[in-house]
C-alpha cells in the first residue's frame, strides 16, 4: 500500500453549512441550560422518582461510544491489524470529541454546574462516580497524548504502540467505571449486577464502531475522498460480531436476573409488563439494534448493509441505554416486601417519565458538540487519511 497521506478537510460551503447547523443545536442546548438554571429543574421532566433522565441517556451513550471509538486505533496498534492504521488518528480524535460531548451534557445537567471546580478538586474515593471523573479527564489527556505521538514525525513506533496500549487499557477501566455506576447500586434491582461493567464494555465496542463508521463515511463524502467497499464491509462484519456480543451479555444479564426470584419483578417489568420499556427492549434494542444489523452484515455484506447496520446499532444503542437508565428507575423500589402500598404518594408504582424539550435539546446539544469537535479537528488537524480505497489495502487480512 502507498504511504498514508493525512490531510485536513477543506472548508467547502457544505462543510460550513453543516458546522452552522451543529452550532445552532449547541446554542439551543445552551439556551436550555440557561432556562433550567434560572427556573430550576422543575421545568424538566425529571422528578424525585426519575432522577436521571434523557440528558443522561444521551450522555452515557456518548461516553460509551467515546471509549469504543478508540477501538479502531487500538485494533491497529494493539492488535496489529494494518488495515486499520490509517484510521487510527481520527479514531483518537473522535474518541475525545465524543467524550467531551457526553461530559458536557452531564455537567450542564448538574443542579449546581457552577460547582464543577468542586467536582474536579474534591473527591470521595469510595465513590465510583469520583473515580469516573478522574478516568474521564485522564482519558482526554492520555488519548490526546496518543494522538500527538501518532502525528509526530520521527517517533519510535514502539513508543506509539506503547501509548496505544496505555490508552486501550485506560479506556477499558473507564468503561468498567461507567458500567459500575449502575452495577454498584445495591438499592435498585434493575442495576445491582456485576455484569453491568462487561456489558458496558461490549456496548462500547458496538456503539463506538458504529459511530466511527458513520462519522468517517460522512466526512469522507463531504471531502470527496474514497472509502473502499472491502474495508467498509470488513468493519461491518466486525460490527456484527460486536452487536452479537451485546446480545449475548444482555441475555446473560436477564437470564441471571430471571433465575433469582427476588429480581423477578423487575424482569417481568422490562421483558413483559413495562409498556414503552418492553417495546424499546424487544423491538428496538434486540431486533432493530441487534438481530437486524447482524443479519445485514453477515447475510448480505455490502456497503449499504454496513451503513444501515451502523445506523441501526446506534438506534438500538440509544434504546438500550434508555431502558437501563430510565427503566431501572421507573420500576418501583421494593421497600416493603410482602406489603402493598395503599396510601402514599409515588410508592410502589411504576414511575412515569415524560421528557421535556429542555432535556432533548441538551442531549442533542451534546451530540452536536461531539460532531462539531470531530469535524473541526478534521478540518484543522491532519488526521483524516486521503485514501481508504480498496486498492490501497495492505496485504495482510
Amino acid at each position: 500500500m502507498e504511504r498514508t497521506i493525512y490531510r485536513e478537510i477543506r472548508a467547502t460551503p457544505q462543510v460550513m453549512q453543516l458546522g452552522g447547523l451543529l452550532a445552532a443545536f449547541i446554542l439551543a442546548a445552551l439556551w436550555s441550560v440557561y432556562t433550567v438554571e434560572h427556573h430550576g429543574h422543575v421545568i424538566t421532566g425529571m422528578t424525585n422518582q426519575i432522577v436521571w433522565g434523557l440528558p443522561h441517556v444521551f450522555a452515557i451513550f456518548l461516553i460509551v461510544a467515546a471509549s469504543g471509538a478508540l477501538n479502531v486505533a487500538s485494533i491497529a496498534s494493539v492488535f496489529g491489524q494494518k488495515a486499520y492504521k490509517p484510521m487510527a488518528r481520527f479514531s483518537s480524535l473522535l474518541a475525545i470529541a465524543l467524550l467531551v460531548g457526553g461530559l458536557a451534557v452531564v455537567v450542564l445537567d448538574l443542579g449546581r454546574p457552577d460547582r464543577l471546580i468542586v467536582a474536579m478538586t474534591t473527591y470521595n474515593f469510595s465513590s465510583v462516580f469520583a473515580w469516573n471523573v478522574l478516568l474521564y479527564n485522564g482519558f482526554i489527556v492520555i488519548v490526546g497524548g496518543y494522538l500527538v505521538l501518532q502525528m509526530m514525525r520521527k517517533v519510535d513506533p514502539r513508543l506509539v504502540k506503547a501509548a496505544g496500549l496505555v490508552a486501550f487499557l485506560w479506556r477499558l477501566a473507564l468503561t468498567t467505571g461507567t458500567g459500575s455506576i449502575f452495577g454498584w447500586l445495591v438499592a435498585r434491582p434493575g442495576y445491582d449486577a456485576a455484569i453491568m461493567a462487561p456489558l458496558f464494555i461490549v456496548m462500547s465496542f458496538a456503539f463506538g464502531l458504529a459511530v466511527f463508521i458513520l462519522v468517517t463515511l460522512w466526512l469522507f463524502t463531504l471531502s470527496g475522498r474514497i472509502f473502499g467497499d472491502a474495508l467498509l464491509i470488513r468493519m461491518g462484519r466486525l460490527l456484527g460480531i460486536f452487536a452479537a456480543a451485546v446480545l449475548y451479555f444482555t441475555a446473560v444479564q436477564h437470564l441471571t436476573n430471571l433465575y433469582a426470584t427476588e429480581h423477578g419483578g423487575v424482569e417481568r417489568f422490562i421483558l413483559r409488563d413495562g409498556g414503552i420499556y418492553t417495546l424499546l427492549f424487544w423491538g428496538v434494542q434486540v431486533v432493530i439494534g441487534g438481530l437486524a444489523p447482524i443479519a445485514l452484515v453477515f447475510l448480505n455484506p455490502s456497503r449499504s448493509s454496513t451503513v444501515l447496520a451502523a445506523t441501526l446499532v446506534i438506534i438500538g444503542g440509544f434504546a438500550q441505554v434508555y431502558v437501563i437508565v430510565i427503566g431501572g428507575q421507573a420500576y418501583p423500589l421494593d421497600i416493603f416486601p410482602g406489603f402493598d402500598v395503599i396510601e402514599g404518594f409515588n410508592e410502589g408504582i411504576v414511575n412515569p417519565y415524560a421528557p421535556s424539550i429542555y432535556e432533548l435539546l441538551l442531549g442533542l446539544g451534546g451530540v452536536a458538540i461531539a460532531l462539531f469537535a470531530a469535524g473541526l479537528g478534521a478540518k484543522v488537524l491532519r488526521v483524516l487519511p486521503t485514501n481508504l480505497s480498496d486498492a490501497n489495502l495492505p496485504a495482510d487480512r
Binding site: 465513590s127 454498584w184 447500586l185 438499592a187 435498585r188 406489603f339 402500598v341
Partner: protein
C-alpha cells in the same frame, strides 16, 4: 508529700464531693447517656436513632410531616407537582398481602450505619456525622443526584425550584439534594426532633427518640425487649431507624 496514713475519711469525702459537683456542673444541661457529657457537638460515643411503633401510628394523622415541613421550611410555596416537591418525611399506609392487615408509618432517612448514599457521593457532600446522623453538606453538593439513585428508601429529595425565605436552621437551595437531618440543629442544642415532638403532642407518641449506644436509654431497652425490624434488612445497612408492629 502527704503520708498515706494521713488521708482521712474527710479528705476522701471532700474530694469525692468536688469530683461529683464538677461532673454534675458540666453535665447539668446534657444528659450523660453514652459518650461524655463534655463533648462539643456531635459525640462519637452516641448514636441517635428512632423507634417507630407502627401500632401507635394513626393512618389519618400526618402531624410529623407537617411539623418537619414547618421546622425546616420545605413543602410551602413550591409551584411544582408532587413528583418534584421535596419530602423529607412521608406517611405510608401498607396492606399485608398475605393477611390483609393494614398498618401506617412515617418513612424518612434511615440514617444507616453503612449509608450507600455516602459511599456514592462524588464530592463527599453526602456525609455521616460522628454520632451517626447522615447529612448533605450543601456547600459542596453539585446536584448530581447519584445519592438519590443509591438510596433504597427514596429518602432524598432534589430541590427543583429556587427557594426563598429559608429557615435559619435549615439552609436549603435550588440544585442541591436534601433529606431528613434528624433535626441536628435541635438535637445539638439538647432538644428532640420536630417530628418526635409533634407525634407526642398529637397524643400518639409513636416515634421514640434516643441514643442507641446507651444501653439504659428508653429506646435501647425497648429494642431489647420487643421485636423490631429495619427496612430492607437484607441490605445489611443497619439503619438507626427501626420499626415495631409493622
Amino acid at each position: 508529700m502527704t503520708n498515706r496514713a494521713e488521708l482521712t475519711r474527710r479528705d476522701i469525702l471532700k474530694s469525692g464531693a468536688a469530683v461529683a459537683s464538677l461532673t454534675l456542673a458540666s453535665g447539668v444541661t446534657l444528659m450523660a447517656f453514652g459518650g461524655s457529657a463534655d463533648a462539643k457537638g456531635a459525640d462519637a460515643g452516641k448514636r441517635w436513632g428512632l423507634l417507630i411503633d407502627a401500632g401507635k401510628c394513626d393512618a389519618d394523622c400526618s402531624d410529623c410531616v407537617t411539623a418537619c415541613s414547618t421546622e425546616n421550611g420545605w413543602g410551602h410555596g413550591d409551584h411544582g407537582s408532587p413528583e418534584t416537591d421535596p419530602a423529607w418525611i412521608r406517611k405510608v399506609t401498607l396492606k399485608e398481602q398475605s393477611t390483609g392487615r393494614t398498618v401506617s408509618a412515617p418513612i424518612m432517612c434511615q440514617h444507616c450505619e453503612a449509608p450507600p448514599c455516602v459511599d456514592v457521593c462524588p464530592t463527599g457532600a453526602s456525609m455521616q456525622r460522628p454520632d451517626g446522623v447522615v447529612l448533605v453538606d450543601k456547600h459542596i453538593c453539585i446536584g448530581c443526584r447519584y445519592c438519590m439513585m443509591a438510596c433504597p428508601f427514596k429518602a432524598r429529595s432534589f430541590v427543583h425550584e429556587p427557594v426563598a425565605d429559608q429557615k435559619v436552621n435549615a439552609p436549603r437551595g435550588n440544585g442541591t439534594v436534601e433529606s431528613c437531618t434528624l433535626c441536628v440543629h435541635r438535637v445539638d442544642k439538647g432538644r428532640i426532633p420536630a417530628c418526635v415532638e409533634a407525634c407526642e403532642q398529637a397524643g400518639h407518641s409513636a416515634i421514640l427518640f434516643g441514643d442507641l449506644n446507651d444501653p439504659d436509654s428508653p429506646i435501647s431497652k425497648a429494642l431489647e425487649q420487643y421485636p423490631s425490624i429495619a427496612l430492607r434488612d437484607d441490605l445489611g445497612l443497619n439503619p438507626a431507624v427501626r420499626y415495631q408492629n409493622m
